[in-house]
C-alpha cells in the first residue's frame, strides 16, 4: 500500500491500477486512458490537502474533508462560499484504457478521454466533457453541461439544469434526461438494434440518426412541435405534437419526450467509405463486433 498526502503540486507514478476512485470538493479533474503507466499529476492544490492512496490496484484520490462535517454553527453553505476558490485542485490522472473509474467533483469540471471501461461521473456544478469513452457510462450533473464526442457503448446521462450534447456517438443504448436544458444528439448508432431514450421537461430535443436505421419511433412533445425528416413517419396531433412509426425494419427503439420544447428528428447520411466495411443487412452491424 502506498499513501501520499499532497499539499503542493507534484507528480506520482503508480505501478498498478485496476480501479480508480476520485472525489474532489472543487477543481478540475481530468482522466485519460493510455497504454503507458498510470500516473497522477497535481498541478494545483487549494487549502485542503489531497489524499492519494494506492492499494491492491485500487487508486483513490480524495480531498481531505474534515471528519466532523460543519454542523449547525457552520452550515454547509459555509463550505461553498468561496469554497471553489479556496479548495480548488487541478488533478490529472492517466490510467490504462481498461480501468473502471468513479469520479465525483462538487464544483468544477470533469474531463475524461479514451477510457474503455465502466465510468461513473458525478458533478454538482460544472462542465463534464467526454471524448472517445467506450463502455458503460453514467454521468449526472446537477447544474452544468455534458458534452460527449465520439463515445460508444451504453450511455446514461442526466442533468437538472444544463445542456447535454452528444456528437458522433455510436451508442447502442442511450438514455439522456434534462429538466431544463437542450438535448442534442448526433448519433452514428448501430443501425439495427439501438435503444435511444431522450427526455426533457423544458428543453428542446434534436436527434440525428443514421438514415439506414431500423427503429420504432415514438416522439412526443406536450406543448411543442415535433418534426421529422423521415418522410415515412406520420406526424400526429392537431399541431403536430407527436410522431409515431417505423424506420426501416423497426428493430431498434427511439423515444423522445419533451414537455415544453420542440423535438426534431433528422437523418444522417451514411458514410460511403464505410458502406463496404459494414456487414450486410442480415448481420449484426455493430461497433462491438468489429473491434
Amino acid at each position: 500500500m502506498a499513501y501520499w498526502a499532497i499539499t503542493e503540486p507534484r507528480r506520482l507514478d503508480i505501478d498498478r491500477v485496476d480501479r480508480l476512485d476520485v472525489s474532489l470538493l472543487a477543481g478540475r479533474l481530468s482522466l485519460v486512458g493510455t497504454d503507458g503507466p498510470a500516473r497522477v499529476e497535481v498541478s494545483a492544490v487549494g487549502e485542503l490537502k489531497l489524499n492519494v492512496r494506492s492499494e491492491d490496484g485500487q487508486l483513490s484520490v480524495h480531498h481531505d474533508v474534515p471528519r466532523a462535517w460543519p454542523g449547525i454553527f457552520k452550515p454547509l453553505w459555509w463550505w461553498w462560499i468561496g469554497g471553489r476558490r479556496r479548495f480548488s485542485a487541478d488533478v490529472s490522472i492517466a490510467v490504462p484504457f481498461q480501468t473502471p473509474a468513479t469520479l465525483k467533483v462538487g464544483s468544477g469540471s470533469v474531463i475524461v478521454s479514451t477510457v474503455h471501461a465502466d465510468l461513473s461521473v458525478d458533478c454538482a456544478s460544472g462542465r463534464t466533457t467526454l471524448l472517445g469513452v467506450d463502455g458503460r457510462i453514467k454521468a449526472s450533473v446537477v447544474s452544468g453541461s455534458i458534452e460527449a464526442l465520439g463515445c460508444a457503448g451504453d450511455i446514461t446521462l442526466d442533468t437538472v439544469s444544463g445542456e447535454i450534447t452528444l456528437a458522433d456517438t455510436a451508442a447502442r443504448r442511450l438514455t439522456a434526461k434534462t429538466i431544463s436544458g437542450a438535448l442534442t444528439a448526433d448519433l452514428d448508432n448501430p443501425p439495427h438494434d439501438s435503444e435511444i431514450n431522450l427526455e426533457t421537461i423544458s428543453g428542446e430535443i434534436i436527434i440525428r440518426v443514421r438514415e439506414d436505421s431500423d427503429l420504432t419511433v415514438r416522439l412526443s412533445a406536450v406543448h411543442g412541435r415535433v418534426t421529422s425528416a423521415f418522410p415515412d413517419l406520420a406526424v400526429e396531433g392537431e399541431r403536430g405534437t407527436s410522431v409515431r412509426g417505423r424506420i426501416g425494419a423497426g428493430t431498434g427503439r427511439l423515444s423522445a419526450n419533451a414537455m415544453g420544447g420542440n423535438i426534431a428528428l433528422l437523418h444522417r447520411p451514411v458514410d460511403e467509405d464505410f458502406a463496404h466495411d459494414e456487414p450486410g443487412p442480415v448481420g449484426t452491424g455493430s461497433v462491438e463486433a468489429s473491434t
Binding site: 481530468s30 490529472s92 450534447t165 421529422s228 420542440n262
Partner: protein, 261 residues
C-alpha cells in the same frame, strides 16, 4: 496534434499497426484514436484511400472476411518498416511527449470537444430549422413562400439554404428562425406587403389541395437539403457552385410561371 502526422508518417504508423497483426479499416481508426487519446480520429475517408495506395505499392494486401476487408502487411511492407525504424522511434517519442503533460492535454481535450460539439450543434440546429420550415403545414406558410408576388421569399429574406457553404449562418428572418407557432407566422404577414390579399386567397386554395401541397413541400425540402449537403461535402469549385445556382434559379423561374396560373 494532427501536425504529428505530416510527411507520410500516417503511412508509417499504419504499417506499424498492421505489423502487430491483420486488421480491418475500422479497427485501425480506433487504434489511432486510442493512441492519440481521442484527439486525432482520422475518418474513413482518410484511411481507405491511403490503404488502397499502400496496397497498389505492394506494402499491404487485403482479404475479404465476413464482408470486411482485412488488411495485412506484406514482405515489402515489413521491409519498409524495418528500414524506417529510426523514424518510427522518433514518431513514438513525439507522440509520447505530446501526452506527457497531462494538464495541458486536458485543456486541449476540453477545447477540442467543445469546439466540435459547438459546430455539430449549429449544424443540427440549422438542419432542424430547415426541416421545420419545410414541414410546416402548407396553409400556415403557403402565402409566405409560394406566392409569385412575394420576391421577398427569394431575395429579400434568404431561406436557411442560402447559407454559406462553410455553414456560417446568414442572418435569417427572426420569425422563421426562432419560432414556429402560428401566431408569429400570421404576424409576419405584413412582410408580404401589398400582396396580403393574394396571400389570403392562396391560403383558401391550399387548404383544399393539402396532400398535393405536402408532396411539393417535401420535394422542395429534399431539394434544399440535398443540394446543401452536396455543396458542403463535395469539393466543387466556384464555377460549379455558380452553375448549380443557375440551375436552381432557372427551375425557380419555371416554377413561378407554372404556379402563377
Amino acid at each position: 496534434m494532427t501536425a504529428v502526422f505530416s510527411h507520410g508518417r500516417l503511412r508509417l504508423y499504419l504499417l506499424k499497426l498492421l505489423a502487430e497483426g491483420p486488421k480491418h479499416g475500422y479497427e485501425l481508426i480506433r487504434l489511432l484514436e486510442n493512441r492519440f487519446l481521442g484527439l486525432y480520429a482520422p475518418s474513413a475517408g482518410t484511411i481507405y484511400p491511403r490503404l488502397q495506395r499502400m496496397e497498389s505499392e505492394g506494402l499491404v494486401t487485403h482479404t475479404q472476411a465476413g464482408g470486411r476487408k482485412v488488411y495485412e502487411l506484406t514482405g515489402d511492407g515489413r521491409a519498409e518498416l524495418t528500414q524506417r525504424a529510426g523514424e518510427l522511434a522518433d514518431l513514438e517519442a513525439e507522440i509520447h511527449a505530446s501526452v506527457a503533460d497531462l494538464t495541458t492535454l486536458a485543456s486541449e481535450i476540453e477545447q477540442h470537444v467543445s469546439g466540435s460539439v459547438r459546430d455539430i450543434k449549429q449544424e443540427l440546429r440549422d438542419a432542424a430549422r430547415q426541416v421545420r420550415s419545410a414541414g410546416r403545414a402548407p396553409w400556415q406558410q403557403a402565402h409566405r413562400r409560394w406566392t409569385p408576388g412575394a420576391p421577398a421569399g427569394g431575395a429579400g429574406t434568404p431561406g436557411p439554404w442560402t447559407q454559406g457553404a462553410d455553414g456560417s449562418p446568414v442572418d435569417t428572418n427572426p420569425v422563421d428562425t426562432n419560432s414556429v407557432d402560428t401566431n408569429s407566422v400570421d404576424g409576419n404577414q405584413g412582410h408580404g406587403g401589398p400582396d396580403g390579399d393574394r396571400g389570403t386567397r392562396t391560403t383558401g386554395d391550399s387548404r383544399a389541395n393539402a396532400p398535393a401541397f405536402g408532396d411539393l413541400e417535401r420535394a422542395v425540402g429534399q431539394l434544399a437539403s440535398e443540394v446543401r449537403r452536396m455543396a458542403r461535402q463535395g469539393s466543387a469549385g466556384e464555377a460549379q457552385l455558380r452553375a448549380a445556382t443557375a440551375v436552381v434559379s432557372s427551375a425557380l423561374t419555371e416554377l413561378r410561371r407554372l404556379l402563377r396560373e
